[in-house]
């Protein structure tokens, strides 16, 4: 314990080290504040849209005061869906900046509506968000490198290394203690704003635990790596060069290489293909005998088989039947597209076992519910709701029931489940493995410090 106090005194005297920790604290705070602002803005938008939607529904409802055709109600009534941010979303905005978190749908063919995009500024999305995930993945290692790269060479250059090494029981403990204290300070600088932000945002305890574990494992990895390099490097310059090289390779080069490989090996062109096929199927129905369409519809929906035959003119039930058949005809492409997207997500998570930056990215965004899986889950909820909508309108359409004001009021409402995600155990294990391994290697290297470096790196 006294050792730590001593180290703390030493550290407190180093203005540069304190300034670095304070700067990181400021950056982490800024990231948490900006993230919270963004999520609050999203929430405000969703509240505003709920008001707008209520007004739209009220305006629509007036048209059905005297009762009308359910088909026309289904055609003209848009229903709002939304994906509320999880309580941890402020830490990692992820895909929420480029994919819709609110979407209006109606009872027409789903696949023509589900892939609609959001309006966002692509150049800003390209630059990326300044959220906690960014501070942790990119900036935190830089601060660790700044604090630890001259751990040994600093002592060597000031001529104290011989004395330090000759002290009884020095071993590697001195370096571990020194590196441990500085890493702990970095951890505190990162986590303190997160905990405060978590308290302000009402973040679930599980999510905060995940963030703490992810941060600790990632810092363990980097302090281990820094120890290995710092204890072997001939001087501070070599150490800093080597560490920055590692950082560039681990957070810039390898992830981009992996991304290029993944894009190529798991193509997802099925998305466009399903849109094209679905349009052909839906619009082709206008050229087919209506009875053929109905017969095909009854094969998958026998419950409506015994309803009255189609009248001579237009009837909405035929219209909705071919809309649904259009969706059903592209089910294989939809499944393939989804599988492709999930495969990309899974390979990214697996890559997290090798690349710590990718692992952190995967774990944080999974916990925050802002990754590709979360986007797919939102689409699933929309699809479920859409199925409920169809289920609601069909009895009116097929049994020729008039659609009155109380029916309009009884239309299903979208109801998103709780958006908090469980702990991403797999990703956490991968990170823990990476962090522990590197830390052990670092500790081993710390025990082998020599007065004169064996090799130049």
């Amino acid at each position: 314990m006294s050792g730590f106090i001593h180290e703390w005194r030493l550290m407190a005297r180093s203005r540069l080290a304190l300034a670095a920790v304070a700067l990181l604290l400021a950056l982490s705070t800024l990231a948490v504040v900006l993230g919270t602002r963004e999520i609050t803005r999203e929430q405000r938008t969703m509240d505003h849209l709920a008001t707008l939607q209520a007004q739209e529904l009220a305006a629509q409802a007036r048209k059905y005061a005297q009762g009308a055709d359910a088909g026309s109600a289904a055609y003209y009534t848009f229903h709002s869906t939304w994906s509320p941010p999880s309580s941890a979303a402020f830490l990692a905005i992820g895909l929420r900046d480029a994919s819709p978190y609110v979407l209006r749908i109606r009872a027409l063919a789903l696949q023509a509506q589900l892939h609609e995009g959001e309006s966002f500024n692509p150049e800003l999305a390209l630059a990326g968000r300044f959220d906690f995930a960014f501070v942790l993945v990119y900036l935190a290692p830089l601060f660790l490198i700044a604090l630890l790269h001259d751990l040994v060479s600093g002592e060597r250059q000031s001529g104290r290394l011989g004395t330090l090494l000759s002290m009884p029981g020095a071993g590697g403990r001195l370096w571990l203690r020194r590196a441990g204290l500085r890493t702990a300070l970095v951890l505190a600088a990162l986590m303190l704003p997160v905990l405060l932000g978590g308290w302000a945002n009402g973040t679930a305890g599980v999510a905060l635990a995940t963030v703490a574990l992810v941060t600790a494992a990632y810092l363990a990895f980097w302090s281990g790596l820094t120890l290995i390099v710092a204890t072997r490097a001939s001087d501070s310059t070599a150490s800093a060069t080597m560490l920055m090289g590692c950082w560039a390779v681990l957070t810039l080069v390898l992830p981009t290489l992996a991304s290029a490989t993944l894009t190529r090996t798991v193509p997802v062109r099925q998305g466009v293909e399903l849109m094209l096929a679905q349009r052909q199927a839906v619009h082709g129905a206008w050229d087919l005998p209506r009875e053929t369409t109905m017969a095909q519809f009854f094969r998958t929906h026998p419950e409506w088989q015994r309803t009255s035959p189609l009248p001579a003119g237009f009837h909405w039930k035929w219209y909705y039947a071919f809309q649904q058949l259009g969706d059903e005809s592209v089910a294989p492409q939809v499944a393939a597209y989804r599988d492709g997207l999930l495969a990309r997500q899974h390979w990214t998570a697996r890559l997290g076992w090798l690349l710590p930056g990718v692992g952190v990215q995967a774990a944080l965004h999974r916990q925050a519910g802002t990754d590709l899986s979360a986007q797919l889950a939102y689409q699933d909820r929309i699809a479920d709701f859409h199925a409920r909508l169809r289920g609601f309108y069909y009895p009116y359409l097929f049994n020729d029931v008039r659609f009155g004001p109380q029916d309009f009021a009884a239309q299903p409402r979208f109801d998103p489940p709780s958006s908090d995600e469980p702990m991403p155990v797999g990703s956490l294990l991968g990170l823990a493995w990476l962090g522990a391994t590197m830390l052990l290697l670092g500790a081993r290297a710390a025990g082998r410090v020599r007065l004169f470096p064996r090799s130049r790196i």
């Binding site: 900006l34 963004e38 938008t45 505003h48 849209l49 707008l52 739209e56 709002s80 992820g94 895909l95 900046d97 480029a98 609110v102 023509a112 892939h115 609609e116 995009g117 959001e118 309006s119 966002f120 500024n121 692509p122 150049e123 800003l124 390209l126 630059a127 990326g128 990119y138 900036l139 700044a146 001259d150 001087d235 501070s236 310059t237 070599a238 800093a240 920055m244 560039a248 957070t251 810039l252 981009t256 991304s259 993944l262 894009t263 190529r264 466009v272 849109m275 349009r279 052909q280 619009h283 050229d287 237009f314 492709g340 997207l341 990309r344 997500q345 390979w347 990718v358 990215q361 995967a362």
Partner: protein, 475 residues
């Protein structure tokens, strides 16, 4: 040979002996080559896929059977965003924008199936392209290689010797800067080869390719000058290194994000949800073509009847329903254009805010120049979206006109049963996108180029200061 050249040659000799530096350079070159081939290949795949899809939908449109023209308005058409060859050098926002746009009547859809929504967050680490290598990695390696170029001489005491031999500080700094610029030039070789090839392959883009080559050369020259200046200012190589690394981290990694975040927070964009409702409300306020008592369309009917000198719509020489369709589309398209313009203007305002940060970090100017000259920036995207919208409008109005002219009012009762011949679909839907002219690309890139040149001038000034400092400090 001048003294500066001798110093530069000496510096290169030293570099060749530095194993770490040689390995680093070799790795960067390999990475640049890999990036070039990957980017060329993925651009080719994307272009082929999009072209194949475009051909497919063009063919499908013409293959539609006899139909009511309004059914074709709803059948609509797909257009696919083409990519020019320079997108292989800097794909810019290509992955962040949809490449498929569905054009139909009464609606303006979003461009969909962008990679950003189809990829895991791995995409956010960046894309391996020649532009990425030069923007991000090359300056870092230059810092590693060059930070000690003068500090080393001073620490070893050789600087004093050189000065005593009558070499001026200016000559020394010039030689060092020349040597480091040579190293930077080496890093640029794969990109220059790629750009040269693109210029030959697509002569229309040659000027843009040249502008890109010049832009990246200036970018690395800014770094070379800055590194030599830092190396002259700091007594110890290590301090120069740490300062330069901090400058790199702040300028290249930190500021572009902060700038984007501030721009996004300062002026948020409305969601499509809001815009759709706003358009629908404005439209309802203008007129409802389905409502026979609507005042706007009652007026329209009166005017139409008067223009043809008849008193009943049944007596019009054309099908009134088609005319109403055309008038309705004209109204909606006007609204769409207004809202789309507003949204794009807002986005451009956000980007201008980002561009202000180029005064703090030259990489922001370089990125703007690079994307603008490559035709992969917001301007080029907007140009595509607007040309697709014009195509949508023309297509829908052509079909509406067919309804007005090829179907009689009496014979137009059901969009299912009243049809016109399929020969009408021939040639109406084909979409040919004319990308922004190279001169426009250059004009879009010009302000950023000026900022980059200002940075070059500033760094040259800094180096001049450093040279004076060098002379005084060793005296």
């Amino acid at each position: 040979m001048s003294a500066a050249m001798r110093i530069a040659r000496e510096e290169w000799r030293l570099l060749r002996r530095n194993r770490v530096a040689v390995i680093g350079l070799a790795l960067l070159l390999v990475l640049a080559v890999v990036a070039t081939f990957t980017a060329l290949d993925s651009r080719r795949t994307a272009v082929e896929e999009r072209a194949a899809h475009q051909t497919q939908v063009d063919r499908e449109f013409e293959a539609q059977p006899d139909r009511h023209p309004h059914r074709m308005v709803h059948y609509g058409h797909f257009v696919f965003r083409p990519l020019n060859l320079l997108a292989a050098f800097d794909p810019g926002i290509d992955a962040y924008t949809g490449h498929t746009l569905f054009l139909e009547g009464h609606r303006q859809n979003s461009a969909n199936f962008g990679d950003v929504r189809q990829s895991s967050l791995l995409l956010r680490f960046g894309q391996l392209t020649p532009a990425f290598v030069l923007q991000v990695l090359a300056p870092l390696l230059l810092v590693f290689v060059g930070h000690a170029t003068l500090a080393r001489e001073r620490e070893a005491g050789t600087l004093r010797v050189l000065l005593a031999q009558g070499v001026t500080p200016g000559q020394i700094a010039l030689g060092k800067a020349f040597a480091l610029s040579g190293t930077a030039l080496l890093m640029l070789v794969p990109a220059f080869v790629a750009l040269g090839w693109i210029g030959i392959e697509a002569p229309g883009l040659a000027v843009s390719a040249l502008a890109l080559a010049a832009g990246y050369a200036v970018w690395l020259l800014v770094w070379a000058l800055g590194i030599v200046a830092a190396s002259a200012f700091f007594k110890r190589g290590r301090d120069a290194l740490l300062t330069l690394l901090a400058a790199w981290a702040i300028g290249v990694v930190f500021l572009p994000r902060v700038a984007a975040e501030i721009a996004a927070a300062a002026d948020a964009l409305p969601t499509r949800f809001e815009t759709d409702i706003a358009v629908a409300r404005d439209l309802a306020a203008l007129g409802d073509s389905h409502n026979p008592d609507d005042s706007y369309f009652a007026e329209f009917r009166k005017k139409t009847l008067k223009a043809h000198g008849v008193s009943r719509i049944e007596d019009l020489p054309v099908n009134y329903k088609g005319l109403v369709g055309m008038e309705g589309e004209r109204l909606t398209a006007g609204l769409f254009a207004r809202y789309a313009d507003e949204a794009f203007e807002r986005q451009h305002a956000q980007l201008r805010r980002v561009d202000d940060f180029a005064l703090l970090s030259p990489v922001i100017a370089l990125r703007r120049l690079s994307m603008a000259a490559s035709g992969t920036d917001q301007h080029s995207y907007r140009h595509f979206v607007e040309s697709a919208e014009r195509h949508r409008y023309r297509l829908v109005q052509d079909l509406n006109r067919m309804q007005a002219e090829k179907l009689s009012f009496a014979g137009d009762r059901s969009s299912r049963d009243n049809r016109i011949g399929r020969a009408h679909w021939h040639g109406v839907a084909d979409f040919h996108h004319e990308p922004l002219a190279p001169s426009r690309l250059l004009r879009n890139a010009a302000p950023a180029a000026l900022v980059l040149l200002a940075w070059l001038a500033a760094l040259a000034g800094l180096l001049a200061l450093a040279v004076r400092h060098l002379g005084r400090a060793t005296r």
